[in-house]
Amino acid sequence: MPKVKVCVLRTAGTNCDKETAFAFRKAGSEPESVHINSLIRAEKKLEDFQVLALPGGFSYGDDLGAGKILANELRCRLAEDVRRFIKDGKLVIGICNGFQILVKAGILPGTRPYRIGRCVPLHRNSELKQEASLIINDSGKFEDRWVYLKSPQNKCVWTKCLPEVIYLPVAHGEGKFVTGDKKVLARLKRNKQIVFQYCDEKGALSGYPHNPNGSIENIAGICDETGRILGLMPHPERHVYGEQHPRWAGERLRAAGDGLTIIRNGVEYAQKTLL
């Protein structure tokens, strides 16, 4: 059986590409690390992949705001390819910096541009509107900590069969999810696009430090209207093995980490629908 091919996109400052690729390989797919210049120079083609993964890091140093410059580059130089990729029913995941990129490029929540069967050219700026943002944490600083997450009822294909509360690390300075206007938030809720919310160990929504950055409605991750594009601040690729759990040496060694389930969901969905 052919394997799902994953494009792990990287550029200057991407730094979670190796472990992201590792997690995808562990989940049974075939990841390839691809520099954005290879796509721009058409040495590699996005259409050869079924999943696009935007890993964490500090693309271009996060100068001008986290993810901004790579978001701009995607919009300006690869819009056609990305648009077709999404229209073809393929999958996208943006983790941490990748989430920031998807949001700042207007790809998430992205209700307007990507209705199936109705493609709108991405490079037309009027059609690609940034509707939400990830801004500096309320604490004013970068923080690395493990967080509990719960999934409200949602349409995301990446979150099947997850336990009620999962445990993943966050590590960011700009992760506070905000929407410009209340209607966007209402739409996210109505369309079941809120995928992850920060909570306490029992699943109750809770303030700092459980909500590490002050995100509205404790939002940690969202998807697009199709459920195939997922963006989240926590790092699923950092909880693939039981030994990555901060208390495995004290509690018990779990067979696998919660993050692997998320990645595996994406791979299996792609396997079923795209191969």
Partner: protein, 995 residues
């Protein structure tokens, strides 16, 4: 046209930056600042239309959801009680944002000639005096070494001012002096110089060379019948600097000592703390070879792959990979510009890993700092120094910025405080790297091309190597400003990504980093046994105007030098090009034994490699150690020790460093197995860290550190021994063994030209030798940073001699990892290892402002047995939790275990194994800092087997873990001497640095 674009948060957005500044202003004692707001400013200059500027602002610079912008709207005057402070970088200071902004503008399709500058604008509201405003600016908002406050009259002049130092095409700043460089060969008159003149030349040129060295240079050129060029003189000064050559450690030392015999007492087996016979001196030829390197040579471990030769020490990891470890210091730059100093410090040590063998991939960072205490009174600060809290915040941010952006987890560290670090903070940065076994050695070949890769060369960092080989003074910040830099981690990250690909394609034969001394030391080192020719005009520059000499010695960051066989050059350059990293051929390695430098066909340097690397005269320095006699402490024995335990937990050295640790990414790369923060709430202090560099392997790396300058107040020999013991017992505490442990030394000392400073350094080095030898643990790499003194008004302030021992060990199976927090109520608690009346230099004595004289010693023979037994017990799964006893002794260790596990504990001091004859007080047993001790939690069903494993060794069943969240200690007479809720202990421990 010139556009000034201001970006500010919308009113409904929470301005975290401004809130932070508001808090800092309050910390300064200024209460009248009502409100602060912050704006990011971009200045675009070039042939831009208004519509284009609008588009750039709208699509790129502003986050439309949370921010708004205005173009050229900022010239309005300030309101009443409103102060506008705009801070911009000084000309010539690298600002990475400029380059990436320009890249993004090009992505938008705007190709016009353009230059970008950035600035920060603060609006402070409130009734402030001019003096208060000045304080806020100088203490919080800018550092004059790299930034300036833009004056209002300057704003209107901005256009012509900017044009003066903008190069339109690339948009990079050019310093406004010396914009065009016209070649002129400069020679220095040495042949006819008197001794006085020689010293003057050394001093004026910041060469930091002494008279015999200057004479040796004069003699060399006398033989050539010509004067040196400035470039030749600089090359020699760089190569011979303390920083690059380690003259003190490699030179001759005439050592004498005067010990207070009564204080030494019994001498543990295997240790020889008397370095001379009474009244005699000892001549040491090469301290490094006599102590540190001697251990390694005598132990001759087969798993040591490459020691003391390369940029870091290399040991075996598994059948496919080796690992390397190096720790560097960046003290002088961090004293002047904490963010930039620490930033470039971590950047430098990462390049050490990348420059080891044919390049190792960095997998973890460590950092250890020493500062003056953060509440140091402002009015007592020596002139010219920054406040320690600002230094600490800056240093932490610098490490955070570089380490996180490089994607390397910061897994281990320590922070210590003492007011003697007020003029010279210590910043140790370490990196562990991993590389395939066949990539551990390099060899430069004749005919290989010299290729410089990474960042461009600018006027930054000139004289860093020689500058760090002298003492700091009040004026250092002015004369040495060139030594201060800010790093560009993204530049280094892409360089790293590309180098590792080139390595795996075997495209180059040798690599080294451009650190202190720049190209001068990198090329000089690589060509040492060959020869080299370099065309300095081919080196890519940040801006025009650098002289040939500046190009040669500039220490611009993020550069490496490769030796590339000619047939690979095209492929190599293509690869670097794809990743947007510059790679340029600047010369060739030759077989001439000469270092020849050209600038546009003019020969500007022609030196014999042999003279350069062997011509340094070996000098004998005097070292005299006189052991101080401290007052014997008189501490009243209290029945209730609760308040002392609370106070010790709140000592800055001991309290939680969570505020710092959380700012470092310790999860990136996915390899962290035992994290720096552990426990039920993930906030307890881990003894060491365990990392798994290959994600699908069971093998791990343990990293730990030992440092305690306080014991040096009594005797540096035992201080060194204790540091080694601490680093090793932390490895044991997390489930490791002594089987394959390697250590690194980093000596930070005062001026070694002063006999007392050098005397204590010698004692520490011999302490290292004896202890490491007895434990069977080799040194694989090290570094010294001397001259950590600060002179103000003729008075010299030295740091306490401080040794950092970093340990690294390979763990066969990470599943044997043990964490330090209490796991289960009912489990038994043991103390393993003997306690002695050794409170000299302890935190308990420090509470009463005493130092004492009974410094903790190391009994390596017994310690080795204890370490071995505990390793076996942990590999058998008999141990549930283990914590090493260090600062604060049993009291602190037991308290930390309890509150990190969110459980209570009850312990009985009468069961602690201790030397009963001189040791009959609860407080001494509880707070003594004797070495080689652990607290171990054992499940009751394993007690028998555990005790069997420790047969014949000192251990005591001191109590148990409790469900009820009380921490109870029974004194030697059985009465309760401590009773308190664990919540209160934790609060005392967390509060001091919860910023």
């Amino acid at each position: 046209m010139l556009y000034e674009i201001e970006i500010k948060d919308k009113p409904e957005t929470f301005d975290a930056i401004a809130e932070g500044i508001k808090k800092d202003i309050l910390d300064l004692g200024i209460k009248s600042a009502r409100d602060v707001s912050f704006m990011q400013v971009y200045i675009l200059e070039g042939d831009l239309s208004e519509a284009q500027a609008e588009r750039i602002s709208d699509e790129l610079l502003v986050d439309k959801i949370s921010q708004s912008y205005s173009i050229n709207g900022g010239k309005k005057g300030a309101g009443k009680d409103e102060f506008v402070v705009e801070v911009a970088y000084n000309p010539g200071v690298m600002d990475p944002v400029e380059e990436s902004t320009l890249k993004a503008i090009r992505d938008l399709g705007i190709e016009e000639d353009l230059c970008v500058k950035t600035a920060k604008k603060y609006i402070i509201k409130g009734k402030l005096s001019a003096r208060q405003l000045k304080t806020i600016c100088e203490k919080l908002l800018y550092n004059k070494l790299i930034q300036h406050v833009v004056r209002h009259d300057e704003l209107s002049l901005r256009a012509p001012h900017l044009l003066r130092y903008c190069e339109p095409r690339r948009g990079e700043a050019i310093p406004f002096f010396n914009p065009d460089y016209l070649f002129q060969l400069i020679t220095v008159e040495l042949l006819r110089a008197s001794d006085k003149k020689l010293l003057e030349i050394s001093k004026k040129g910041q060469l930091f060379l002494n008279l015999p060295e200057m004479r040796a240079i004069k003699n060399y050129f006398y033989g050539l019948k010509r004067n040196p060029t400035d470039c030749e003189l600089e090359t020699i000064a760089q190569t011979w600097s303390e920083h690059c050559w380690h003259k003190t450690f490699r030179g001759k030392i005439d050592y004498s000592e005067k010990l207070l015999k009564t204080k030494i007492g019994t001498v543990p087996l295997g240790m020889s703390p008397f370095l001379t016979k009474p009244g005699k001196t000892r001549l040491i030829d090469n301290l490094l070879k006599s102590t540190i390197m001697r251990v390694t040579k005598e132990l001759n471990k087969p798993w040591c792959v490459s020691v003391f030769k390369d940029n870091s020490g290399v040991i075996r990891f598994d059948h496919k990979y080796n690992i390397c470890f190096k720790v560097e210091t960046h003290n002088h730059p961090s004293a002047l510009e904490p963010f930039g100093g620490a930033n470039t410090g971590i950047g430098g040590v990462i390049r050490d890993s990348l420059g080891t063998g044919l390049g190792a991939k960095p997998v973890l960072n460590t950092d250890v700092f020493c500062f003056a205490r953060p509440d140091y009174p402002f009015n007592k600060l020596p002139a010219g120094t920054l406040h320690p809290k600002r230094i600490m915040k800056g240093v932490v941010s610098g490490v955070r910025d570089y380490g996180n952006k490089m994607g390397i987890p910061t897994l281990n560290g320590a922070i210590l405080f003492h007011d003697r670090f007020v003029g010279n903070p210590l910043v140790y940065c370490g990196t562990v790297g991993i590389m395939p076994k066949d990539k551990c050695f390099k060899k430069t070949n004749i005919g290989d091309l010299i290729v410089v890769v990474g960042g461009k060369t600018g006027r930054d960092g000139i004289h860093g190597a020689t500058f760090s080989s002298g003492e700091l003074t009040q004026k250092s910040e002015i004369i040495s400003s060139g030594a201060v830099q800010i790093g560009n981690p993204i530049q280094e990250k892409k360089m790293l990504d590309t180098i590792l690909q080139a390595r795996d394609k075997n495209l180059y034969s040798a690599i080294t980093d451009c650190g202190a001394g720049g190209l001068s030391s990198a090329v000089g080192e690589m060509a040492a046994s060959l020869g080299a020719e370099v065309g300095l005009d081919t080196v890519p520059l940040k801006y025009q105007g650098l002289s040939y000499m500046e190009i040669w010695i500039s220490e611009s960051q993020e550069r490496m030098v490769l030796s590339v066989p000619k047939e690979n050059i095209d492929e190599l350059i293509k690869l670097f090009n794809l990743e947007d990293v510059e790679a340029v051929v600047i010369g060739e390695f030759t077989d001439t034994g000469r270092l020849k430098l050209f600038y546009k066909d003019n020969l500007v340097c022609d030196l014999d490699m042999r003279f350069l690397h062997e011509g340094l005269p070996k000098l004998a320095k005097k070292a005299a150690y006189i052991q101080p006699r401290h007052q014997e402490p008189k501490v009243r024995h209290s029945k209730d020790l609760t308040k002392y335990l609370l106070r010790i937990l709140s000592q800055y050295d001991i309290c939680s460093k969570e505020w710092v640790i959380r700012q470092y990414d310790h999860e990136v790369q996915g390899g962290s197995v035992l994290k720096p923060l552990v426990g039920v709430m993930n906030d307890g202090p881990s003894d060491a860290s365990v990392c798994r560099p290959i994600l699908d392997s069971k093998k791990g790396i343990i990293v730990s550190n030992g440092i305690n300058f306080r014991y040096g107040f009594i005797d540096h020999y035992w201080m060194a021994a204790s540091c080694i013991d601490e680093a090793l017992r932390q490895i044991i505490a997390v489930g490791g063994s002594l089987k394959e442990v390697a250590i690194l030394d980093n000596f930070c000392w005062g001026n070694p030209d002063k006999p007392d400073r050098l005397g204590s350094l010698v004692r520490a080095a011999y302490g290292c030798y004896d202890t490491a030898k007895a434990f069977g643990v080799p040194f694989i790499s090290g570094k010294d940073s001397l001259y950590n003194e600060y002179t103000v008004k003729g008075k010299s302030l030295s740091i306490p001699g401080t040794l950092l021992i970093s340990a690294i060990s390979v763990m066969d199976d990470i599943h044997k990892t043990i964490s330090m927090y209490a796991k289960q109520a009912g489990d038994s608690l043991y103390v393993v290892g003997d306690s002695y009346n050794e409170l000299g230099g302890s935190h308990y004595y420090d509470l009463f402002r005493f130092t004492g004289n009974r410094v903790p010693k190391v009994y390596p023979k017994k310690a080795k047995l204890i370490f071995g037994a505990l390793s076996r017990a942990s590999s058998k799964g008999l141990i549930k939790a283990m914590h090493d006893c260090s600062e604060g002794g049993i009291g602190v260790a037991a308290a930390e275990m309890a509150f990190s596990g969110d459980l209570g504990a009850e312990i009985f001091l009468s069961e602690v194994p201790y030397a009963r004859n001189d040791f009959t007080r609860d407080d001494f047993v509880l707070f003594s800092e004797s070495n080689s001790r652990f607290i171990v939690e054992v499940e009751n069903s394993h007690r028998k087997e555990f005790e069997k494993a420790l047969k014949g060794l000192p251990f005591g069943l001191i109590g148990s873990v409790k469900d009820k969240k009380d921490f109870k200690v029974h004194g030697l007479d059985g009465n309760i001497c401590i009773k308190i809720k664990i919540g209160a202990l934790k609060e005392a421990w967390q509060k001091p640095l919860r910023w």
